[in-house]
Symmetry: C2
Subunit: 458 residues, 2 copies
């Protein structure tokens, strides 16, 4: 039996750091998502690249599946060991290895979380901007090509991972990219690994791009008569080149829930929340220009602030959105899904999704990183009710089909995992087979996160 033999050999390698305890296996068999639990056969806690390499070689020798684990915050079941095997938890590889302020970059181990990194960077004048909401591990964020509220200004993980170290399926260790800000020297292996969801290698080190903490930040919130008006405001803001750092959409339902749960007094209409980073005069000018654009599109109830404490209060609705939604639906669980469309089709996509939700019994507030054309529906289902699960699945399915028909993608930032794999053929055509050929070339025995992302082998 390949898996028991690998587990036994790994036990000799890692001692107590190979866990077979039932609670540990169960904790690594759950996800934030709606997928059934699938505990792995063992959980390994390596401390060095050399240990990851030795572990990989043992698993390769025995044909045992290997799945990486960061903070367990992914939303599509990416890290579930659906074919059993060894879960590699990077919790003990969580150090900030080096910060180079002059180059505005740093090197980290994959288990460090984004909040952990930013805490360590606090005194440097620098910060790491990618913010998916959860306090995810940086390795996990790289593997899912995470993004979030600041992407419109600072980019996704694709833009902020400069290089990485990875252990391949055959135990080779490669270093991709580097510390030069750009390179034309060969295939972009860094870009290939970012977003590969653990199917090409185990990432053991990341070099990340950092950004200067802005001198001034101002924030604003504004209500709109409809989704179209809000989206047109976004389009015009971006076309004018206004340097927005965040531009977020919340729908009328989210406002209503927030008012009810937290005593807010927002008009129950679609809202945009924006944040500007820059110099004092720069952010003041940008806020004024944004205000004029919003007013042209019927924006009202405009509130803005450049003081940190007011900013935080202003954004409370967004920050607490998920919590408010959960609290408003006792006994229900979140089934979150995301798509991304060309921004010119965003209003149409969101409106069609809302109309679809209006015909359903499953509540589904909509939130979006609208500067990117990316939006989420937070479906609140009774997990014990198979008909609600089926209904959520059907709603999510139609949302994806609609996004693809509008020239968009099945997932803007949550990734493929188990939830979106069924759409890969429709989205990529023969390109999906090309992904499978690359996987086959680098992992011919299908050891790394098998059953995910690429087509099944014949």
């Amino acid at each position: 039996m390949p898996i028991p033999e690998a587990v036994s050999a790994l036990s000799s390698l890692l001692g107590q750091r190979l866990s077979l305890s039932k609670p540990d296996l169960e904790a690594h068999g759950r996800s934030e998502a709606y997928h059934p639990p699938t505990p792995p056969d063992a959980v390994a806690y390596p401390e060095t690249t050399e240990e990851v390499q030795a572990l990989m070689r043992i698993c390769a020798q025995h044909g045992c599946p290997v799945v990486g684990w960061g903070a367990g915050t992914s939303l599509e079941g990416h890290a579930l060991a659906t074919q059993g095997g060894v879960m590699v938890d990077f919790a003990r590889m969580d150090r900030l290895l080096e910060v180079r302020p002059e180059d505005m970059d740093c090197t980290v181990q994959p288990g460090l979380t984004r909040e952990g990194l930013n805490t360590e960077l606090r005194t440097t004048g620098l910060f790491f901007p990618v913010d998916p909401g959860a306090n995810a591990s940086l390795g996990g964020m790289a593997m899912t090509r995470a993004s979030g509220t600041t992407t419109v200004r600072y980019g996704t993980m694709r833009d902020n991972v400069l290089g990485l170290e990875a252990v391949l399926a055959d135990g080779r260790v490669i270093r991709t990219g580097g510390r030069a800000r750009k390179s034309a020297a060969g295939y972009d292996l860094t870009g290939l690994f970012v977003g590969s969801e653990g199917t090409l290698g185990l990432v053991t080190e990341l070099t990340l791009r950092l950004h200067g903490q802005p001198e001034a930040i101002s924030a604003a919130i504004c209500g709109f008569p409809g989704i179209g008006a809000a989206v047109d405001t976004v389009i015009e803001t971006i076309q004018m080149g206004l340097p927005v750092a965040r531009i977020e959409f919340v729908d009328a339902l989210t406002c209503a829930i927030f008012n009810r749960q937290s005593g807010g007094d927002f008009p129950e209409t679609p809202h945009l929340l924006v944040e500007f980073h820059g110099s004092e005069t720069g952010v003041a000018e940008t806020a004024e220009r944004f205000g004029a654009i919003a007013a042209d599109h019927g924006g009202s109830d405009f509130r803005w602030s450049d003081r940190p404490e007011d900013r935080t209060r202003l954004w409370t609705m967004r920050h607490n959105a998920a919590w408010s939604i959960v609290a408003a639906h006792p006994g229900r669980r979140m089934w979150v899904t995301d798509v991304c469309v060309p921004i010119s089709r965003l209003a149409e996509a969101v409106e069609a999704t809302q109309a679809d939700l209006a015909r359903s019994d499953v509540p589904g507030p909509i939130l979006g990183h609208v500067g990117d054309g990316n939006y989420h529906v937070v479906l609140m289902i009774d997990p014990e009710d198979p008909s609600e699960r089926a209904e959520a699945e059907a709603l999510a399915h139609r949302m994806v089909e609609r996004a693809l028909a509008l020239g968009g993608t099945a997932t803007g930032e949550h990734g493929v995992g188990l939830g979106k794999r069924g759409y890969m053929a429709a989205e990529h055509g023969d390109g999906w087979d090309v992904m499978g050929q690359i996987k086959q070339a680098l992992d011919p025995h299908n050891l790394l996160n098998p059953g995910k992302l690429v087509p099944d082998r014949n």
Copy 2:
């Protein structure tokens, strides 16, 4: 014989658009670089994706090499058919297919040049920012992962190609990426193809990100007592988050040549040339702040302007640099090479290169996109003198070795081609073999631009 058979079949497919004329073959056997001419066996001028696909299938059937050709401006011999075969010239696939102003993107055929695109975009308020100097084709720019003067603000081709269509070695046509601004749906095939130098497929269509034409532009030029002072000014400018659109370095020798050739009156010291894009008040504030940083580092002879005609004059030295250098060295030819290092090591790298040049008889002015840590040496050699060729090769070699030792890359933007292939193993280690495995998986018979970028097959 595989090549004659393929040529004969292609002749039936393309008629007059398969050229065997000697001048045509010779024109497609030269490069801007210092490599010996190697004419292909035929030049094909397809007009549609379907023709490229049919062409590729014929070449696959006969085992005939296929090399893509854009504007012939690459600098490392990327497009030379060193193993013979068919050159695919995209001159007849040069249309702007669609512009979508609301989404700030467009779709083009690969033969369209960047200047051609920007001329067509003139009335839209949008522009395509990547500027490598030459009026390169957009397909060629994608294939070499081109960048240039505006990269510090707008990124390289990696950042500005949203998706592409490519014909693979077996004749399949794939579409990668798409029009959504971000996606987490699988391997980043777009990023894999950008910079692949024609070794993975023939690109037949590109979707490009566009940017709003800035409301205001201001430009400045400033002399410095030494390279260190100039580079420290760059580092501080970027750390402060000043939104520079271009920040270029020219060395004292380039200034001297420009003064001599064009009657300039610049102090013969290292200079920085900068450009700021933004609102009227924004660029004025940025220029003032930049001036203060430069002055702190001993910057002097500060000239700036926000009027288009003055800006152009101000930047004449940079725009005419290559021309001035060539004119100053009659009978000699350029041997240009580029490297990129972490910006903290840039002063050290440039100074060591200058010291090396001072010991040599080959003149070599230095220019750089210093915001990226990228610089070029323009070696001026007598092409008939083997000892000068050997000396240029040795100087370029030491420049690359030094860049790699400082944590940089063998090429920041010119690409691998023939000139940098010898450094791929040193730069990437086992990563270079991984590139070879990907190539083998997608082009098992090594038909696409054989002998380039990846390791030779065993």
